[in-house]
């Protein structure tokens, strides 16, 4: 696939969609390239506009402080200290903007490639039976347009007539064409994709400018970004901390005057900037953008940041059995012969009856016969010497398939059908065949009886055990989810017996058998009534109400437009297993926020120990305060400057962490808290002591200072 048509996967770092099997199944962060910092610099300066800064109260205070010290520095141009503080305060603001710009930059690159794909198309609109050429932008909801091989589909819609293969690589990055046909769950087409063959009539379902590709561009660009509820709450906390510290610093001046040590505005501003939670204030929006970005890298589009946040809170996952928990199709697992028949005989007959069976089940029988008994698949040529050869295909009426060859008739099929078939021909079905059938059913498998009628008369040879094969590693995955406090519910159309067997094998907590869309909806409402947040995937139109009801509804891109409209995320890979990763990304986002908030607050302790003794340690009557200078910083100016520099540099140092997210491993809340508290709480307490001391050492080497 060429990069031009694979915008989503060509995020600057070339992120890859991770399946549950990929990369140990853990959410890893996106890569971080230091060159992005340089590239985003112009944007960082553009964001100095106070109207933009005001959105982040903490950094806005820093900007005001920078302006203030700049004025003061101009008033006293000979004071190197004032200039140094001014420069570093401005750098603090620029670094904060840089973090946001870098995070946004990754989305912008993706948006640009998407825009290229969204060329202005000419639509062939049907009016009555006539056809007219109109620009794609003039299409209205309900218009019918014709698309033939080579045409770009002009807008989102549903196929109402015909079937075609469509290249959707512009959206999904997947180059293999997909089939789109009228009716059913595969009728949705997306504007900007290309019809490769045949002719379809599409009924437009979205207004121009609001199409999927438009929304994608807005999303990855962050234009539609709104602060999420948790972000708002955190901002309130940060703003109140800022007020507390503003208060502490403003009131300090009268105290200082009383102590006979009036402070300059520059020193007070420096103290204020060091105390307010600039680290998290600077990185907060970058963390949010990066969280959405991590989803995009996995080819998931979240329609809102709120949905990503909700994903972290999910406590119930509804997982479709087919495709998510199991490989999707039942497969032959063993041949069980009845008394009087050998296993090899059974395998041979089973294989023979399945040669023309192109269903996955049929093919799996051929494969098993080959693997287990070395029976090579015979092609029709090999059977060509047979006098008569008729394959009997499976029909819903007969519920069996098979082959008639040289007077021998082989049939395989549902137990009831085969029993009836043998009975009609005057044969008897042995009791052990029935027992085997019951045993396999009870174990959740699907029994297929194999019967033969030849010279020895009609009789049952044995049973093929068809099994749903649970994907590798699913049990471990569900164990992890359980430890994270997430309940998994398997949704299946199977009967309760089959469902239970698979549920037990996969290790899910619960299952919903013979599930109808109404059952699904009822289950979601029941869970939500208990205060739980529910996540689910879906693709069909009948999934749409449930997708809308779920707190996190992930629609498959292959699904109908109704489903995509109802969900709050779209998985472009249409891989339902990704739901688990989405939850982990949501959690990772919240943890990153909490960790950096803790780090930011813990940092302040060291800054006080640097600045307070520097302010008052030499004042008569207050010399005792010099004992607080436990870092033994070299001079007053150097101590304050070191704290300010550390405060600015730590932002840059933490940009990669904010963008990648903190390392996340599923574990219980308790262990997670202990780990993160140790790392970011205790680390945040100690790190600045070391950092400030080192910076002070460097500064004291500069001649004329310290």
């Amino acid at each position: 696939m060429s990069t031009a048509t694979t915008p989503v996967r060509t995020a600057p770092e070339g992120g890859h969609p991770h399946g549950p099997e990929g990369s140990g199944g853990r959410v890893s962060g996106g890569l971080f390239d230091p060159r992005q910092l340089v590239k985003s610099l112009p944007d960082a300066f553009r964001k100095l506009d106070p109207r933009i800064m005001a959105k982040s109260p903490v950094m806005f205070v820093v900007e005001i402080g920078s302006v203030l010290t700049t004025v003061l520095a101009f008033l006293d141009p000979g004071d190197w200290f004032g200039w140094a503080i001014t420069v570093w305060l401005w750098l603090t603001v620029v670094f904060a903007n840089l973090a946001e710009a870098v995070a946004e930059g990754r989305g912008k690159a993706q948006a640009d490639t998407l825009r290229k794909a969204k060329t202005d198309t000419v639509a062939r609109r049907l009016t009555g039976s006539a056809e007219e050429q109109v620009p794609g932008t003039e299409l209205r909801i309900g218009d019918l347009v014709v698309c033939e091989a080579g045409d770009i589909i002009p807008g989102d819609g549903d196929v109402v007539e015909g079937v075609a293969s469509v290249d959707e690589s512009a959206i999904t990055g997947e180059s293999a064409p997909v089939i789109r046909e009228s009716g059913g769950d595969r009728s949705a087409v997306t504007g900007g994709t290309k019809v490769l063959s045949d002719r379809i009539v599409v009924k437009i379902t979205t207004k121009p400018g609001e199409t999927f590709i438009d929304r994608m561009i807005n999303l990855v660009e962050g234009a539609a970004r709104q602060k999420t509820p948790n972000e708002i709450a955190l901002n309130i906390l940060l703003a109140s901390l800022t007020i507390v510290f503003l208060l502490a610093v403003v009131t300090l001046q009268p105290f200082a005057i009383y102590a006979g040590a009036e402070q300059t505005m520059i020193v007070l501003t420096a103290l204020l900037v060091c105390l307010i939670p600039t680290t998290i204030g600077a990185l907060l929006s970058a963390i949010g953008i990066a969280g959405m970005d991590r989803l995009v890298q996995r080819n998931v589009l979240a329609m809102s940041g709120r949905a990503v946040e909700a994903a972290g809170d999910v406590s119930t996952l509804l997982l479709d059995k087919t495709g998510t928990i199991t490989l999707g199709n039942r497969q032959a697992a063993e041949f069980v012969p009845v008394t009087g028949a050998s296993e090899a005989e059974l395998a041979d007959a089973a294989q023979l009856s399945s040669l023309a069976d192109e269903t996955p089940e049929g093919r799996s029988i051929v494969v098993l016969a080959k693997e287990r008994y070395g029976l090579r698949a015979r092609d029709e040529g090999e059977l060509g010497h047979a006098a008569s050869l008729t394959f009997v295909p499976f029909t819903a009426q007969t519920r069996m398939s098979g082959v008639d060859v040289d007077g021998t008739t082989v049939r395989k099929g549902a137990a009831g059908a085969i029993v009836a078939w043998v009975g009609q021909r005057g044969g008897e079905v042995s009791s052990d065949a029935r027992e085997t059938v019951d045993a396999i059913s009870a174990a959740g498998g699907t029994p297929l009886l194999v019967a033969i009628e030849d010279a020895d008369g009609p009789r049952v040879l044995g049973v093929i055990h068809l099994k749903d094969v649970v994907k590798e590693g699913m049990r471990e995955r569900f164990d992890e989810l359980r430890r994270m406090g997430i309940k998994t519910v398997m949704i299946t159309g199977d009967n309760p017996l089959t469902a239970k067997a698979i549920a037990d094998e996969a290790g899910v907590d619960d299952f919903l058998a013979e599930a109808t869309p109404e059952d699904k909806m009822a289950l979601i409402k029941r869970e939500q009534a208990g205060g739980k947040l529910v996540a689910m995937t879906g693709d069909g139109t009948n999934d749409a109400p449930a997708l809308a009801q779920a707190d996190v509804g992930v629609a498959m891109n292959t699904g109908t437009s109704a489903a995509k409209e109802a969900g709050n995320m779209v998985d472009l890979d249409s891989n339902p297993t990704k739901l688990i990763e989405i939850v982990e990304i949501g959690k990772q986002l919240l943890i990153t926020r909490g960790a950096l908030t803790t780090f930011s607050i813990a940092n302040d302790v060291a800054k006080y120990f640097a600045i307070i003794p520097a302010m008052f340690g030499a004042v008569a009557g207050y010399e005792g305060l010099d004992t607080l200078n436990i870092m033994r910083l070299s001079s007053t100016e150097s101590a304050i400057l070191s704290a300010v520099i550390f405060n600015a540099l730590i932002i840059v140092a933490l940009v990669p962490l904010a963008l990648k997210g903190v390392r996340y491993r599923p574990m219980s809340a308790d262990r997670m808290l202990r780990r993160n508290l140790g790392l970011y709480g205790l680390g945040g307490l100690i790190a600045p002591f070391i950092g400030i001391k080192l910076i002070d050492l460097l500064i004291s080497l500069i001649p004329g200072i310290g």
Binding site: I243, V249, G485, A669, L677
Partner: protein, 561 residues
């Protein structure tokens, strides 16, 4: 026995006694506040005040009750002091000046009991018993009612109803404070505290000469002063006065009274939210801070350098020989970590660090264990902040006791924690910046402002810290009976008491409306020691960071010199 050992043994006895009554008292209080029945005397009261105790109130109605009742209390108390001259049993004292009467009325209604007057020299029997002592009961009951309303906010869901303020107020007074006070007063009287309505006696003194002493209903007021974490002494010397606190035993008993309800309320909390271990976690956080402060206080008071101090067995200046360093240290930390403010020794004379500890104790917001009721709601507000940060670190949007901590809750909790620092630092800064208020510092008159140094600054800082946090103890030395201090401290007390209540009740209302979030393995376990430790850390760091510069220029500069 060495004084150190005596102190430790007294501490152990105190903890033992508190542990003994923790469960029964906590369970009893839970039963009182969730009972459906009204006692006969309670029904009389409801009829008198025209309240229907069975209606449920949403938070604005509950708050209106709190504010209306307290406003009436302030007005009544103010009038009573202003007309003292015409009251019976006034011992010949004249009416109190307007600004002092305002200050005292605000002080007692706000459960602070800051006293810019000397009881024995200005307040007659009627003002003391019908005015001040009554407020000692009801201001405490108001605090408990608000705390219970917040607990109901956590316990209830999908309703905005927080109970009935009048029922909570009356029950807290009639069923909890009154019976405990009667028992407590009998114990104190039996141990030598006085209880009479005697007039003024001329008493000869050992050093020659004589002085006037009056009697009064001292024991009864003493017991509610401690039990309701009020702290306003009958006499100026407060619990250092032998009529109030005659012996080492009564001293320990009074500390017990100070701590018993605030600690036991955590049990009540656990009971009412249906998870006793949640109550234990809050208790653990409170206990850890209280014990830590007490240990530090004992250490600094016993081991302060200086030959004279060591000879006396520790820093004995300002402490009673009857109690010694150990018991005085326990009393000092207990009275400042609750909103009591009663003193059996003079905090101003403590070592620099010791004085700093009493201040820091109040600055924590008086939540370990804090005032009756106010300690619990203060601690729960801090818990919401701690949960918010820690909750994020486990990868969920934060929740506490099954309730989501969203932007509304964090806004209210943040407003709560902003109030006292604003009042303390704001008023202190104003006092330091203006020209006359610093003159109130000890030994400043006629000298340069800087004369009193760090200690003088501590006096002012202590006064506003004590007022805004509703403690009421004073760093003796500051002459607070000036128009400036009476007015500003009065305002600090009222705002520091009732603004937080506004936010706490709004918070309770918001929590009560939510539907509960079920607990899973992914939920932050707030009943575990790890969380209690985190809570303590958050409290210490947030308070420490807020007041660090102020503390540095006051007690720290003094202590480190």
């Amino acid at each position: 026995m060495s004084p150190e050992l005596a102190g430790v043994l007294q501490l152990a006895a105190l903890i033992g006694a508190l542990a003994l009554v923790y469960r029964p008292l906590g369970d009893y209080m839970a039963a009182v506040y969730s009972s459906e029945k009204h006692l006969r005397p309670e029904k009389w009261i409801y009829r008198c005040i025209g309240a229907n105790p069975s209606t449920q109130m949403r938070w604005p109605a509950y708050l209106r009750g709190v504010l209306a009742f307290s406003l009436m209390g302030v007005l009544f108390l103010y009038l009573l002091q202003r007309v003292q001259g015409s009251l019976p049993l006034s011992l010949g004292f004249t009416p109190i000046s307007p600004h002092q009467a305002f200050n005292t009325a605000a002080s007692f209604v706000a459960n602070t009991n800051w006293q810019s007057y000397s009881g024995e020299q200005s307040m007659g029997h009627v003002v003391q018993t019908a005015g001040l002592a009554v407020q000692n009961f009801v201001s405490a009951a108001v605090g408990m009612a608000v705390a219970i309303a917040l607990v109901r906010g956590f316990a209830r869901s999908r309703t905005g109803e927080l109970g009935n303020f009048w029922a909570d107020l009356v029950r807290g007074t009639v069923r909890i404070l009154l019976p405990l006070s009667v028992v407590g007063a009998l114990v104190l009287v039996a141990c030598g505290a006085i209880q009479n309505f005697a007039g003024i006696h001329e008493v000869g003194q050992l050093t020659g000469g004589s002085r006037q002493m009056n009697g009064g209903a001292v024991a009864s007021q003493e017991v509610i002063k401690e039990l309701g974490t009020n702290g306003g002494g009958f006499f100026n010397a407060n619990s250092a006065h032998p009529f109030e606190n005659p012996s080492g035993f009564t001293n320990l008993f009074e500390i017990f009274l100070i701590l018993v309800i605030p600690f036991a309320l955590t049990r009540t909390f656990g009971k009412l939210v249906g998870n006793i271990r949640q109550g234990y976690a809050i208790l653990a956080a409170m206990g850890l801070i209280w014990l830590g402060f007490t240990a530090l206080m004992m250490w600094t008071e016993f081991h302060h350098g200086g030959a004279a101090l060591q000879e006396a067995g520790g820093a004995m200046e300002g402490k009673e020989q009857r109690f010694g360093v150990g018991a005085s240290a326990i009393f000092a930390t207990s009275t400042t970590l609750t909103s009591t403010g009663a003193v059996d020794s003079f905090h101003s004379s403590f070592t620099g660090f010791g004085g700093g500890l009493t201040m820091l104790g109040m600055m924590l917001g008086e939540i370990a264990p804090g005032g009756v009721g106010s300690g619990l709601y203060g601690m729960l507000s801090m818990a919401i902040i701690a949960v918010f940060i820690a909750g994020l670190m486990v990868g969920r949007t934060p929740e506490y006791l099954g309730k989501k901590i969203g932007s509304r809750e964090i806004k209210l909790a943040a407003c709560y924690i902003l109030i006292t620092p604003t009042l303390v630092l704001g008023f202190t800064a104003l006092s330091m910046a203006l020209s006359t208020p610093p003159d109130s510092m000890l030994n400043t008159a006629g000298n340069s402002v800087n004369h009193s140094g760090a200690h003088g600054f501590s006096e002012v800082l202590y006064a506003f810290t004590s007022g805004a946090n509703n403690n009421g103890s004073a760093f003796a030395g500051l002459n607070a009976n000036t128009q400036w201090y009476n007015t500003t401290i009065g305002l600090a007390m009222l705002l520091g008491r009732f603004l937080p209540m506004v936010f706490v009740l709004a918070l309770a209302g918001s929590l009560a409306e939510q539907k509960p979030v079920p607990e899973t393995a992914g939920t932050l376990r707030t009943e575990k020691p790890l969380f209690a430790g985190l809570l303590v850390g958050a409290i210490l760091i947030i308070t420490g960071l807020t007041y660090f510069p102020a503390l540095a220029l006051g007690p720290m500069a003094e202590g480190l010199s």
